[in-house]
Each structure stands twice: as C-alpha cells, then as structure tokens.
C-alpha cells in the first residue's frame, strides 16, 4: 500500500496536489458528457430514468446501487451542482433545493420534529425569521432568538429539547459577523450542530466548515448563481457531527433519533449506520426531498452552475466595488452610519479580519439622515441601483428593509435587529464603481433637498 521506493513501478513520492477552489468552481462534479462529448454540463431535463432491468430497479430503490430514479430525488445535472458546492465548501455532499428557504426547511425537518427547539441569531434574513418565528411553531418547533455576539445568551437559551444552533455568516441587516468558532464550540459542548446561512459570503469568502460549523446552506439565487435569473437553494453537510453522541459530541446522545435510530419509512434503515459521514444527507434525500418534494429543476441547476464558474472572479469584484461604495457613503454628510465590518466602527471589525480576510461581501446597510420621505426620494432617484427584493445579483440593488423584507417584524424586533426607518440596504453589483458612486451621489443630493 502506498507508493514506495520498494515498489518496482515509478510512482510519485511527493505529496499529491489538490485542486484550488478556482479550479473546483469550474470543474468539480462535472466531466465531458460520456454520451455526446458535450463540454458543458448537459441539462438532463427528464422526470425519470429507464431501469436496465427489474433487479437493477429494485437495487436502486433499496439503496444497493447508486443512480437516478426520479428527478425529485436526484438528477444528473442537479447532482453536478451538489458536488460542486460540496467541493467548494469542503463538505461530504449536498442537496440542492427549490429555494434557499427550502434548504433551511430541509435541514430543520431532517433533524427534528414537534417538541424540538432551535436557538437562532436574531439577525436573520426576514424569510428565515418568518419560518422560525411564525410558521414552525405551528408544527411544534420553537425558536429562541439571541444576540449573535452574546455567547452567554446562546447558552442560556438552550433547553433539553434544543436540536440546532442557527446563524448567518453575516447577519441581516447589520452584518453582524457570526463568531463561528465560538458558537460552534458551544453548540458541540451542548450536543447540537451549528447550521450557518452563508448566502452573503459564499465559499469564496469563508468556508464555515473550516471554523467548526456542521451544516451550511445557501440561497443559490444570490451570489452562487449571480445573475438574478433563478430561485434555488443548497444545503451542505460537513460530515463531522457525531449524531449518535458516541464520539466527539457526547452530549448529542439521544437527541437525533431521525438519524441514529431505525426509520420505518425506509426499511428500518439507521442512517448513521448506513453512512458514517453522511447520515444527515441520506435522511434528507430519502425522506425530506422525497416527501416534502422541494427539489431543484435541472435547468435551474444548469444556470447556477454557469454562475459558479465565475464565482471567484465575481466575488472579488463585488467586494472591491463594495469597499469603494462603503468609503463614499461613510464620508457623506447625509449618511449617519454604515454597517460594514471592514470599517473600524463596526463592532465585529476584528472578528471580520480573522474570519473574512478576503472581504465582507457586497451586501450592507446604511442609515440615512432625515425623514421617511427623504428615504423614499433617495431610492426613487437611483438609476443604476434597482429597487427590488433580492441581493447578490450582478446588477446593483437597493431596498428599504423596514417596509419590505422585514415589514412583519414589530418595531421592537426591528430595533433589536438594528433596523430603523432610515435603514437602506444595498447589494453592490459589478458595474464600474465610479458609475455606482455617481448614482448614489445624485440620489443623496435629491434626498437632501
């Protein structure tokens, strides 16, 4: 075993090379199509796949052979995307879903049922907040929201029924930087995994698994696809969490019966026995995608793959542009504050330097001085920045969170989340930065009249 001078053949003795992320962004999971030679990943736009024979069909259904049966469960085009994101994140595998919301739901529904509890950062995307605060309680899953910077608050919120810690790499909308190493360490001490929404950062800026997170999900609608043309999500498993509590996370013992006990819905399979590293993904695919059905279409997967090919290039440009826009706004008299962690004034400035040395993304908020009417004039004067509810597009975007993405939150909750009526959120795109600054300058001038 292993190359050696004692072997007769010529073999490399030096350390094998691994591929850089920029290369994985182009190639991971894909190869020229064996049937046609097509270099691009083909769109396998089919609902189902022909079985060679009855025995093979039975083996596929019983997980004795690997392959595709029905595109709700898996699809060759979607599988390329899943592999590629898993490779970029440094996970064992991934499942692509119909949306980022579906990815979050899949993660939660795979890990817990009624009577369970989540501890989550209170600085969340409004859609995630809706799911956790309003919808899941109807299904018996409660969430306690905590200040993501307050480790004692995370600990104090834990109940015997807690099954998950959840936060965003850069919290919405103030860009609170989640201290992944410390929150993950606490989660593991208490026997629960840490799920991280890495939509704003993508694996180009931070790989949460490298810092201790156990599960990551993305709204692939945003920077991964990058062009604002599809809705999609993906959840990735690090393959590190000890779901049985028999090894590195003893406090997890007994907490995850969906993974560590026989599942009647799949022939009594115990997923942790079936796969030492990927029990979560097995259950998520064999139950969550199968039964809830929020799968990704092959065409959407293809579009996201096109986006990921240029992810490293785009993210660098997004960050460069965002830095220039941040510098402009921070110096403008009508702007009272800018929430960007690279600014020394941001409370997570030092943490951002450690976790996000390549940049803090291109989505951030700032507070405009003046009235609500001035804020409206500002947004309506912008020409390059499009007023809409999305981020992570190649084009620059703007929104007023208090009246849109976070409008269901009470004033007190808004305040706790760092949102005021003057808060404006930007998603800085790939235009020339001078043009973006000109656009902002004109709008600020109009708002100031």
């Amino acid at each position: 075993m292993a190359p050696s001078a004692r072997t007769a053949c010529r073999v490399p003795i030096t350390k094998p090379k691994t591929f850089h992320p920029d290369t994985l962004a182009l190639h991971a999971g894909a190869r020229p199509d064996p049937a046609t030679g097509a270099r691009a990943t083909p769109i396998y736009q089919t609902a189902s796949f022909v079985f060679p024979d009855s025995d093979h069909a039975a083996a596929l259904f019983n997980m004795e052979r690997a392959g595709h049966v029905y595109s709700r469960i898996s699809n060759p085009t979607v599988a390329v995307l899943e592999e590629r994101v898993a490779a970029l994140e440094g996970g064992v595998g991934a499942i692509a879903t119909a949306s980022g919301q579906a990815a979050l739901h899949l993660a939660i529904a795979t890990l817990m049922g009624a009577g369970s509890h989540i501890v989550a950062s209170r600085s969340l995307y409004g859609g995630s907040h809706n799911l956790l605060d309003y919808t899941l309680p109807r299904f018996g899953i409660e969430t306690t929201f905590v200040d993501p910077r307050d480790l004692d608050a995370w600990r104090a919120a834990v109940r015997p029924s807690t099954r998950l810690f959840f936060g965003e790499t850069l919290g919405n909308p103030g860009l609170d930087v989640l201290d992944i190493p410390r929150v993950a360490a606490l989660a593991h001490e208490l026997g629960v995994p840490l799920l991280v929404d890495s939509t704003f950062t993508t694996p180009h800026l931070v790989r949460p698994f490298d810092h201790g997170a156990d599960l990551v999900f993305h709204s692939a609608t945003k920077f991964l696809s990058g062009h604002g043309v599809v809705i999609g999500g993906v959840v990735i498993d690090a393959g590190t969490f000890d779901w049985e509590g028999s090894g590195r996370h003893p406090a997890a013992r007994g907490k995850f019966p969906t993974l560590a006990e026989p599942y009647a819905g799949f022939h009594g399979m115990t997923f942790t026995e079936e796969s030492t590293t990927a029990a979560f993904l097995l259950r998520a695919r064999r139950e969550g995608v199968r039964d809830f059905g929020a799968c990704m279409s092959p065409f959407v997967a293809f579009q996201i793959l096109q986006g990921i090919e240029t992810l490293p290039l785009r993210m660098d440009r997004h960050v460069d542009n965002a830095r220039k826009v941040v510098a402009f706004l921070a110096a403008h008299p009508l702007v009272t504050s800018v929430g960007y962690p690279e600014l020394p004034s941001h409370p997570d400035h030092a943490l951002a330097g450690r976790l996000l040395p390549r940049g803090c993304g291109a989505v951030f908020s700032f507070n405009l001085a003046g009235t609500r009417a001035q804020g409206r004039r500002f947004i309506e004067t912008l020409k390059l920045f499009s007023h809409l509810a999305n981020v992570g597009d190649a084009k620059s975007l703007v929104i007023h969170p208090a009246s849109t993405t976070h409008f269901r939150m009470s004033v007190a909750d808004l305040e706790r989340a760092g949102i005021t009526e003057g808060t404006i959120r930007l998603s800085v795109g790939l235009e020339h930065p001078d043009d973006l600054i000109d656009d902002l300058s004109r709008a600020l001038h109009a708002a100031g009249k």
């Binding site: 075993m1 292993a2 190359p3 050696s4 001078a5 072997t7 007769a8 053949c9 073999v11 490399p12 003795i13 350390k15 094998p16 090379k17 691994t18 591929f19 994985l24 190639h27 991971a28 999971g29 894909a30 190869r31 083996a59 019983n62 997980m63 004795e64 052979r65 690997a66 392959g67 595709h68 898996s74 699809n75 979607v78 599988a79 390329v80 899943e82 592999e83 590629r84 490779a87 440094g90 996970g91 064992v92 595998g93 991934a94 692509a96 393959g239 590190t240 028999s246 022939h267 009594g268 399979m269 115990t270 026995e273 079936e274 796969s275 030492t276 590293t277 990927a278 993904l281 695919r285």
Partner: protein, 262 residues
Amino acid sequence: MIVTVASHPVYAYTGTRALVPAQPTVVFVHGAANDHSVWALQSRWFAHHGWNALAVDLPGHGRSGGAALASVEAIADWLPALLDATGAARAALVGHSLGSLAALACAALHPARVTKVALLGPSVPMPVTDLLLAAAKADDHAAFELINGWSVSPGKQLGGNTVPGMWLTGNAMRLMERTRPGVLHTDLVACNAYADGLAHAAAARLPALVLMGQRDLMAPPKNAAALIAALPGVRTVTLAETGHALMAEQPDAVLDALAAFL
C-alpha cells in the same frame, strides 16, 4: 449488529437484515483508517440477495472496541472468531487493501472457515512509503491527505460521483478523520510488515478474485502480478480509470464483479 469478539464489542453492518442460519455468509473487511461504510452499497446488495452480509468494523475502527490489530496475521486469526460470534461456520471473505491481505492470510491460515476470497486493491508485498508512515505515526493530518491524493484516480479527484450529490474525496477524508489516534499507523505498519503473501496465496486452495484499479497508485496492478501468479485459478478484473478507492469510484462495477464471483 454488535457482537463480542475477544472480549470487545464489534460492530458489523448487516444491511438492516437479521442473520439467517441457512444462508451463506460473506464478510467485508475494510482497509486502513476505514470502516464498514466503505462497503455500504455492495454489502447491502448481498444482504438483500440471499446472504448474511457482515461489513465489519475491525477492532479499534469505527464502532468496534479494542485496539487495532497489529499485523495482517492477527486480523486473519481474528476473523474466525468473528464468524464464531455470529454463528457462521464458513464465509466468503471480501477485503480491500489491508483487508485484502487479511482475507488472503485467513484463507491460508484457516482454510476450513473460508469458502472464497475476493481481494480488492491488493499488493503483495504492500510496502508503505516512509513519508506516509512518518505522518501516520505523528497522527499528522497530512497522512490522510496523502492517502486521499493517491487513492482516488485523477478523473475522480474532480468528482462525477456515482452516488448523487456526494463529493467523493471530501467524504473519504471525513471518514479517515474519524480514525482514532495511532490506528492508521498501526494499519500501515501491518501492511508494510506482511511478508508471507505469496506463501499464503500458494496455500490458499480456494476460488479467488483479484479486483484492481487501472490507475491505482497505492496498490498498482503490477504489484499484484506475483500474487495472481501464485493463486491457482484466480479470476482477475481490472477497472479502467479507477484508483485504489474502488468501491467508491466504481460501486456498480465492483458489485457486479463480486456478484458474478460469489
């Protein structure tokens, strides 16, 4: 299932099937720093096709207790005790890498207990480079990186996994990372020290299959040539564009070869 072997708990995956005394038994033996899960697809198929399948975690590995066995011969002597614990008089042995050597040695040393042997990714001898031994001895993560880099064929280093959505090298890495301190070194030393492979092959008077990966850098097919020559009536299968991680890279081809042989 958990059984007790030599006073230690031993885990064997059975494909979620109860063992049936009237059925033949096949034991799957993993390689260094691995566990039963490397055989998930193949062992599950056999468990659902008339066999008692035992994909075992060797002592010190996975869910099994005890210390990792220090030599190929020690594993070979342990396997009959596993059969005793599960009530099997005889079994076919399927081994990968270190496990293939153990299966070969068991067939030679305990011929009454073994019906057939399938040797996946064997090399006789199976020398281990000092670079890897030193890293393993230090429990340095670099040891896993070396193994992953050498085990997975160049084509599969970029994915294209048969199992939808799974990143092959990432999964292999995470499995190795669960290895207890010192165990990889013990496994590699066992491989490196095994000197009786050809004698055992000559003594193993039973049907044998040697299954190799054409692009295997860990156990290149030419390193199995002497073994193949020493095994009378051996069946050989070489999988094109496949490395040492045979079961992960080509799960269906491995299963087909095993099903045809056993």
